[in-house]
Symmetry: D2
Subunit: 369 residues, 4 copies
């Protein structure tokens, strides 16, 4: 089976990897533009405390978290050990908003069916600061041991390389249109070149809708800009610091190289306006230094921007397009792309190779209204 | 009259400026992406010695050069004096290839009808080096006094600001489709937003074709990547250095701030692969230091990439689309964008406002085969 | 007379320029390191409303402001017209702190002797916003018409080029020591090279003290880090916006290219730790967006860091070193470097060429305790 | 024992690590300036084929290579596993110059006493390209299996963090002078602060001489600029590619993340002029693409500059300063810093803690003439 994968973000790269592993002949197209969501994603894998209550969303998010260790092991066998993946646990703190008891109750309720979430403990402010030293001194916290973090850029690059090693082809071309009819897609066009295949998996994030419009399809996904900052704490080994999750959309997480990532704005209506703004950076720094004032002296090292593809109801858009043979869509992962992406890629590969995925994709119909 | 201008490169910005000056109500859409041709263009205004012999191309190129002083004066009245525009003259040198006599003959033949080209003199190697000190010592040259250089980024920004000051509106949105039917365009779509107007001027460079494909229109323009380098010579006043034109597609030109620009690759088949390559940078430096070895110690300060929109026959694609009301195209300026762009924008504004331009646009039919 | 100028920031470059203009044979040494104060200075020329009451400081600051137009004219004759200098006026606003009446009284008192300060008017919030559109809506202001702004990088580069054109020599070497004895300086060492001259003008800012320590001299200057941000407002012509001066050490000013500069931190005890910090950027953005919330959507374009050389009493350190022949110092301009620097350079050139400057340098004795 | 380590490059960081491991109380000072040799070093660990014949140099270089596996294991126990260290082997190719037989003879002669060098085989051009695919097609090679590569930035950061975790203190201050007398050093000065200790280990690379000059000591080390480029090959797993060593001072080596490093210039007389030059980048690209033309389409991703501290006879400058109590120097590692640095740091730590190192430091007397 020949499959074209449009988009080499974490979802597309995972799908390409699982497709090649399953025997498909895969061609990947991606112009590697700035602004993709994967590169600017935070990389927190901790769905269990989320306030999102939708069961369909949770099925994907918890499935993604559960499968990470196996994926990491599989990639290591393919020679890809550098994913920035580590189960560092999470610190859940109240911040300005209160609400720690509800977060605890919500998390505990989910943990019974999710042993991979580990254990949940209440920590005193001192215990919390021992784990995440820049935290403000008066902050009690919950500690959830099974949470992990991952580096989206490294993960997507590793999946892509592993797919290529297993035979996939990569072209750095921007797909400019689909080839075929309104009832049967047979390939893609990239400028004046055409590529043909049995199926096209469209994993182009916020850039997907104009490719579908000529077929009369309206994919309800819009870009949501996220501005995210990388800080350095030279001389500090931050590798084992837990993910820090205040009760808001902001967060902090640390990586191996004395790096702390703080994010992120969620800017609806931003369009594709790929830039840092004074107000966005202010917001991120205010939130981060509010909860972790010890970061004030950290070096502001890098600033990234990503365009998250948002669906209208927060649930991903995954699966074949009814009425159009040969077209499968993976999109709409929103702010959960690094949790859900690798799993979603595997599900779509199963759907393409076997006709069905291990869980039903019906709730994620990409053209649902 | 309401006009939407898609693309704020030098052509689109010029058209917007002349349209507002002529009384139109103008909306400009541009996501200001990296890689536009305008930002990476060299900015040499010297069509008279060009080896391109096509009369239709030359009419636009020489018209563009002739009109620059008036445009600069008009913009200065609008409060925009910083264009990096200066008539510094050009040094034409043989480089490895010989051919100076032909260049001289060709240029002289054109100068009769082009007094703005100034005067042409043969220079000894010493005289040439006095004008452009890093030149190699053994190189005779022709000097053409009327050649000029301009900073494409400054020019486009100034045209855009002047248009806005005269009432144009700017949106940083990526246009994702045209609104209307195959026979009548009524506006554009940008994600989930729509903009309506009496006419749409599509000046989106290499990004235009996918916007036209849904109408069944095949605009024959492809991106040609140019990699271009900016060098600094701290302490040297380079403002009056002439443009240096070897007998190849490479060139060198200097700006006010001790800056020398050397370029550029012409990479067909690059697609939108927006990146510097080891081979591209090597080629540009080899050519530049071959002719001007005195630049070896210059600081490598900045590296830019632009995607020139190339038409199949080198001639621009300018004018209304036959059979589609309300749609005008400006595209295909190739490597002459900064020479032709401002003039082409004015011609298209005339066509929209008055029904015809001061010269016939027939040879530039955007859909010619 | 042969003079070595150590440091090509605005003070050193000005001195070199005036020295060559006065007939001296000048050698300039500067490694052009990151972090110099000149490159990160704001460029506000408005000493009249300053809360600093020291008469000696004010003499230099007002002298510097008064002389700018003549300097700009002189440089233009030398072919250097691009200084980013413009008398755009200043808006003085109270911000959180109140105090506008005192600022008005203080300024009026000084204006009598300073006609170049122009006129002072009270503006309503609406009038103020018309001049500086991102200002918050409720903010009355004073407008002082004679204030100016200048681009420190352009100014220093222009002074340096003009000096070189008049015969000065530039070496990009780091001076590592003085040559001579404790009573007579005869040159400088740069690594293993030596340069000899009749006098050495040491204008090395915060980097100067270790060069003097071997002579037993303790220059009381320390680096004060300033973090400063450049914002862009694409499409807006900001050229004529006034400098915005809240009643604090923060400020906003605009340049020709849709650029607004907001700054700056004043970080004592920073040493030479040349980096952006999370806390510093937060502080600058909080102050700027607090007074000018309309900048929230501006692009965060560039971030600079400078090490201001601070004297212990805010007054510059200018003049010959008692007891050490051949050694003259220019330093300690603190946060007023772009106001005072060009003038101080002229005064030191006069002192070297004629034995005395047009005003007494006694209050600025560089080794005063 | 209290020790101040000046400089946190690979030598200083290694010394600090071994000193803390041996029980010393360590204070590290480093302003973390741009341009340090460690950050721009290539990271090739392969002394056995070197054409340098000096036995004293070889003792350190081969000792450094031999000790790497143990150091990596020790750091892993300290929680530092990310050094970019891997024994990938080396390909030795003749390039333009011939000389492969001599290289083979030289290497074989050394291998008897160096089992860690692994095995040496002749490879056909095809075999060589299988290991390093961008290599030109006609190039026979030698393969030496024990060669390794390491990422200097990661290694120095890991050593520093491990030292800090074991109790060392880090200050980001620039040391501006030594404290004490010409016969006894008791600490260092950093601006207006002083730090006191029983001994000072001066590992400040090319920046060291001015700190010693006030004591009348002339350390014969000068900066040699190296410009080095990082290329990316997206989608390719380059982790196991061997180091590529042509018979010149240029080389290529690959890292885990699809990265190939090509370098480097060796620019004597550069002073501290920290910048990329047109001529330097041209030279590096010409050499790299000459031997490995397959890199022409690689992305030019990053360009670094380092100032190698060169001694006059290529041998390092290591050990106590005769006649000055409390002062130990580590310097002059030249282009071998990442091979020798960690080992030299250990030797100097031994010298400080036990009065003597495991090998005699006599040949490396830092003040030898």
């Amino acid at each position: 089976m020949r499959v074209i994968v449009v988009g080499a973000g974490v979802l597309g790269a995972s799908a390409a990897y699982h497709l090649t592993a399953g025997g498909a002949e895969v061609t990947i197209l991606d112009p590697m533009l700035e602004g993709r969501a994967t590169a600017a994603g935070a990389g927190i894998v901790c769905p269990w405390r989320s306030a999102v209550s939708d069961a369909d969303w949770y099925r994907l998010a918890s499935g993604g978290a559960r499968d990470y260790p196996a994926l990491a092991a599989q990639l290591a066998e393919d020679g890809e050990a550098e994913l920035g993946y580590r189960r560092v646990g999470a610190l859940i703190v109240a911040g300005e908003d209160g609400g720690l008891p509800e977060a605890e109750a919500r998390t505990r309720a989910r943990m019974e069916a999710a042993p991979e979430a580990g254990t949940l403990h209440r920590l005193s402010p001192d215990e919390a600061r021992r784990l995440f030293p820049p935290l403000r001194p008066d902050e009690p916290a919950l500690h959830l041991s099974g949470a992990a973090r991952v580096d989206g850029r490294l993960l997507a690059a590793a999946l892509l390389r592993a797919a290529i090693r297993r035979g996939a082809e990569l072209h750095r071309d921007a797909v400019t249109g689909l080839v075929g009819t309104v009832s049967r897609v047979q390939g893609v066009r990239a400028g004046r070149r055409e590529f043909h295949a049995d199926a096209v998996l469209l994993a182009a994030g916020a850039w997907a809708p104009p490719l579908l419009a000529p077929l009369g399809l309206d994919l309800a996904v819009v870009p949501q800009r996220g501005q995210i900052l990388h800080l350095l704490l030279p001389g500090m080994q931050t590798r084992d610091w837990p993910v820090l999750l205040p009760m808001s959309s902001h967060y902090l997480l640390a990586f191996d190289d004395s790096r702390v990532v703080v994010g992120a704005t969620r800017e609806a209506g931003s369009g594709f306006d790929h830039r840092l703004t004074a107000g966005g950076v202010l917001q991120v720094l205010q939130q981060a230094l509010g909860i972790a004032p010890g970061l004030a002296s950290a070096t502001l090292h890098e600033m990234r921007i990503g365009m998250r593809p948002m669906s209208p109801d927060l649930k991903p858009l995954l699966g074949p397009v009814a009425g159009v043979d040969g077209l499968v869509i993976g999109n709409g992962l929103g702010a959960s792309g690094l949790t859900i992406g690798p799993y979603a890629g595997r599900l779509l590969a199963q759907r393409l190779l076997k006709g069905e995925a291990e869980i039903s994709l019906a709730p994620y119909d990409p053209l649902r209204r």
